[in-house]
Symmetry: C3
């Protein structure tokens, strides 16, 4: 129940980030909705295409579609205020990342794929929507540059995988792993952690 | 029969638009063919990947492949003339959009997915090829900026969904819905309809 | 056995080319690994998504993942030296292209798709990883501009298809077809073959 509420929050945060990117790229209201939904649902669609779940769950769960579209429309209407909400948005985005990465891993494990495959698919579920968003507005995906983003998602996925191997109950493992992703991501933002960049030639 | 002829026209129009974009990006003849085929077949491939139809229908229907390749080669050979055919191209493109969006919805409904899911997949079938085309030549997909494009596709898909719910016979519904897409798209072009853009901050 | 060794070499070459592109785009070490793996595994993932093999083979073969990640890390650490290895890299990349295009065709044929469909999927397997790499760093995919690249992949795929129709034994056909791809690609580089570009308007 708590998890469902948090998953919704994550989905809404992703939809808002996509809609905000669309507003910045001067798209019209329909482009804002399309980009918001694509960002919110993209990770789950990639996960289901990789796992062979047809049609993708996110496309046949209407509350997801409604929540994403409403979030995008609100951003379109109130975008100056939303853009000022930078800190809450980053928190919500981190929650979305954590929940999508860990639940994606859980969905993959439930379909009996190898554990390390499930972790990779879970990480992709977390970062996929944002990557598509950046590609569509013509930018190098931020996830490729903000290392602690993808690394945090992978860490959460690996925790779920380890919990699965240790036969721990799934719900608390998901909750703890999501929390770790959020904590790592927010501490990285707060402390401005960066991974090394290759030295200039 | 009529529908098959129109579907061919739509496919050829999409192939020509991809080939024209490739010529403008200074690609060579093989790049022109690849981009033309990708544009023509992309929407159907996305549809089949989402629905779990393997391998995608468009990749195993050789008349489609032949027609798309021939259209791309003709554009390569005669592109100044084709570029001048702006108006007929837009009409053909609108017909392709209408037929792909409505037939995509029909294919999804035949596989028993929920109606709103089928509408989303149908819309994606209509706009997918053009979005891939724009991504590959490094542009923000036009569909995100020309709202009446995606909106027209969605409208056609919804009409097919409503017809399905009302248990109407499929062929006339597809024909009417395609016609509505074409009409809305062309009137929007003619009247220069635009959806609102967010106000500047 | 020989083929497995060469397939590994191809995978490593693709991972290195992705990692090198990431270093040039100033990505950090994690972005370098992600882009290296995406380039090395992308073609096989597209192939398996199109064919309905779930989850994709490349995501559940840990030696592939390990080899790709190690190659990317080595490029990150020694990239000035690797960048100087331009010639050996192009040879390894050509070997990868040949093996991926021909083995992709073979995998598709084993699943009983039509021969020309298998050739298209094989060509896509060979060129897919590089196309994703270029998209992610914001460039028009090189494959669209270096015609003899995609054309060589298609040629190898067609040879495998012809061998299949003629009922020849698979392994020697794969070996010969891969060799032809490598030869055509390297001769094209050496002789600077170009396909025609459309004349200016």
């Amino acid at each position: 129940m708590m998890l469902v509420a948090l998953e919704f929050l994550g989905l809404v945060a992703f939809a808002a980030s996509g809609a905000l990117a669309a507003v910045r790229a001067r798209l019209d209201v329909f482009g804002v909705i399309v980009l918001g939904l694509t960002t919110a649902l993209g990770g789950g669609i990639i996960r289901d295409v990789l796992l062979g779940v047809h049609p993708p769950t996110t496309l046949r769960t209407w509350p997801y579609l409604t929540a994403g579209a409403v979030a995008a429309i609100l951003v379109f209407a109130f975008h100056p205020q939303v853009a000022r909400l930078r800190r809450p948005m980053l928190v919500a985005d981190a929650i979305g990342l954590g929940l999508f990465a860990t639940s994606g891993t859980g969905v993959a494990l439930a379909l009996d794929v190898p554990v390390y495959t499930a972790c990779l698919i879970g990480m992709t579920t977390g970062i996929g929507g944002g990557a598509i968003r950046d590609l569509l507005v013509g930018e190098i995906p931020l996830v490729l540059r903000r290392e602690i983003y993808a690394l945090a998602a992978l860490l959460g996925a690996v925790l779920v995988g380890v919990g699965h191997l240790a036969d721990l109950p799934a719900t608390p493992v998901l909750a703890v792993a999501s929390g770790v992703v959020v904590a790592v991501r927010l501490i990285a933002l707060w402390r401005q952690w960066h991974a090394p960049v290759a030295r200039e030639t």
